[in-house]
């Protein structure tokens, strides 16, 4: 206990950071230690030099400059970043939909009725054209059948197993290997500058929380997404949360600022997206009444990743691109602005 109390005292009297500043001064003043890596280095090494990269660095530099006109206190440095197509690959179909398709196939033997029932019949037959033709209705039925009727713990385990084994059809690597190295660097750069970094995605919150901490260093409570209703139940005197086939919240389009209000309760000063589903989040961020940053990833690299925008079924970028151009938001030209796309030795085209 004395040790613990001593720790508490140190923590509450100084905070690690303030104590550290004192100690650093002491160490430097006696010439006993020069902090390693204190020389300037590039925080975004996978970004090519140019206006895009510079816009990020300028923004972060300005809002973190104490005493400067654009300074923002650390507690207000909220960054909200989309997931599909912004942090990882979303083509040819959203990863979570690929998971759902695989789950239909894997559990088909428990559902003999699916043999004659759409959209499941087409999924099982591998006729993705027919599934696509059924549009949103079919997709919703597939999601409900694969994302409900189990406990949150069982769902989490199923996602974990799938992500550990399923391979992307083109790149032949795990989906979690198909994250964008430049964006990983951006997340690190923001956190090193005391930003609170949140994912704000149309994807399912429980699906993303399974890998966001391991993959991006973003803990569950900073992952915001679409969600279904869960129901608290007692099973053999043990409490469980059972996922219901009922939507609670759709975190896409106008749902993004609504979700930011619902989950975070603060105005972001930094937002990054890649599609029209991010338009309202960027507009909401632009309304921050101080210096704020709005960015879009424009997928322009068919060789190394994909090239798509206005006519894409997945990740359509049309109105948001026009608005970004009109308002001078940052638009990443993937082909020219990013030196590398994926983490080294993970994936090639």
């Amino acid at each position: 206990m004395p040790l613990n109390r001593a720790r508490l005292e140190i923590a509450s009297a100084f905070s690690w950071r303030r104590l550290c500043t004192v100690l650093l001064g002491l160490a430097l003043s006696i010439g006993g230690l020069a902090p390693a890596g204190a020389e300037a280095s590039d925080p975004l090494p996978s970004w090519n030099d140019g206006a895009t990269k510079q816009s990020v660095i300028d923004f972060v530099t300005r809002v973190t400059k104490e005493g400067g006109p654009d300074f923002v206190a650390p507690q207000d440095r909220v960054a909200t970043i989309d997931n599909d197509g912004t942090l990882w690959v979303e083509q040819p179909i959203y990863t979570q939909f690929a998971f759902a398709i695989d789950r239909v196939k894997a559990t088909a033997n428990q559902h003999p009725e699916w043999a004659t029932q759409e959209p499941f019949k087409s999924v099982i037959a591998g006729d993705m054209k027919a599934v696509a033709a059924m549009g949103e209705k079919g997709m919703v039925e597939i999601m409900a059948a694969t994302h409900a009727g189990m406990t949150t713990a069982d769902f989490d385990q199923t996602v974990e197993q799938w992500l550990a084994t399923a391979k992307h059809p083109r790149f032949k690597v795990l989906y979690t290997d198909l994250v964008y190295q430049p964006m990983l660097e951006l997340l690190d750069y923001l956190r090193a500058n005391d930003f609170k970094v949140f994912i704000v995605s149309g994807g399912g919150v429980e699906f993303m929380r399974n890998f966001a901490d391991k993959t991006y260093g973003i803990p569950p409570e900073r992952v915001i997404g679409s969600s279904g209703v869960t129901q608290y139940q007692m099973w053999d005197a043990s409490p469980v949360l059972v996922k219901q086939p009922k939507v609670l919240f759709v975190d896409d389009g106008p749902g993004k600022p609504e979700g930011i209000n619902h989950f975070i309760g603060r105005q972001p000063i930094f937002a990054f997206g890649n599609s029209d589903g991010d338009k309202e989040m960027l507009e909401w961020t632009a309304f921050c009444q101080r210096l704020c940053f709005m960015g879009l990833v424009h997928h322009t690299d068919a060789a190394r990743e994909y090239a798509y925008d206005r006519d894409s079924d997945v990740g359509k970028l049309d109105k948001a691109l026009d608005e970004a151009t009109a308002k001078g938001w940052t638009v990443v030209d993937m082909k020219n602005d990013w030196k590398t796309i994926f983490p080294a030795a993970k994936a090639g085209p």
Copy 2:
């Protein structure tokens, strides 16, 4: 920029904490500095010594003891704490309901129809007995009329003005002065030991977020509560979120573990409540599969605060008290366990 980059380098190479440990070792080894306040002191000075206080300290000591059998990594130290009756006074009516009543009166001139329409007619006449007799239906109508139809920004401003002026009927001080000093110390103690402290309350999330940071040091993104639907709209080319008269989520009873899953996505290891509305949160926490702490505030002090439990309309504590007794959860006997109730020089009975 070089300064900024140097900072980034230090942060990412070491983290403040690790760098600090190195520097602390250096400083101590050269005998140049002994950390101030390193001697043991009482982290909970407003708690009387005894089994209740000891149960809190023992728990925190065990889960923070590195290498010990009950050690929990800092990122998993999630604490979820109720608000009304646990962090501040909830008698004679929930503070948020007092706010709603005052709003009905303050806006009655804009609603001539209320002169003949219940429950508003009785509210305006000050006949709270009649309002109470209308039960939940009346309360929901009052809440809808006062918590919807405005932007989130306007609502926030209204709450702020009300909290800055409205006085508690018995203690004649601001409601934010009626927080429990022993619980403020507990929040500090948990944070000093690297807990992530969340409010998980049946109260409205936007109402609580207005004061939680100032009053408890709990930032908006760590406040979980009941919420209504908001709708993103453009007003004169400015985006706004308009509060709709429609419930999105009720964070009470079984809604507490559901809300913890929805907002946090992690299992708490520490939970504190005071009523049957906290029962499921405590059960869910008790299911943490490692050392966990479940606590209840039992209001036993009519002289300094209030005494109520099984028969109370507000903050009824019946089944949860039985469960706490049966399972050995910590129950604060307010009269005997708390040396002081409110922060000094704020309120007396």
